[in-house]
Amino acid sequence: MTILLLTLIILLAVFALFSSDLLHGVVAMSAISLSCAILFYILEAPDVAITEAAVGAGVSTVIFVWALRHSQRKEDRHE
């Protein structure tokens, strides 16, 4: 169960690194914190899982998207 979750986290992290669109990276980061919350929960640390679920999945996603709204793309899409 732990190994399956760690594999999912590694896959999502590699995708978040190499995705060209920033919003896809934000979605992957949200899924990473979701998987981390399950992992802490399985490893019998429910208070850490509460903090990870509140800060990681909720607030940090809102902050990332908020920063993404106020940025703009300067480069060409096709290169």
Binding site: M1, L4, L5, L8, L11, L12, F15, D21, L23, H24, V26, V27, A28, S30, A31, L34, S35, A37, I38, Y41, I42, P46, A49, I50, A53, A54, A57, G58, V59, T61, V62, V65, W66, L68, R69
Partner: protein, 92 residues
Amino acid sequence: MSMILLHTMQWFLLVSAGICVIRLLLGPTSADRLVALNILSGVTLAFLVVRGVWEKRVLYLDVALVYDIFGFLGFLAIARFLKDRMSDGEEQ
């Protein structure tokens, strides 16, 4: 018997989460990825509740409650950003 069922259900939900992650990685558009993340959140919520019943501890259910409240804010932010970007015509 119920312990066996709860344990089977945990594995079933984890495999479902893996399938949702595959869709999140492969989905061609941003809306596909948002829907995949939303389904992943639902599967995770079910997993947390099943695990909490399995462990027979009330504290474990609080994690599911807090995650469901705060995860909704994240999806709301992503969906609103996606709406603005689609109305700008940048999304194909």
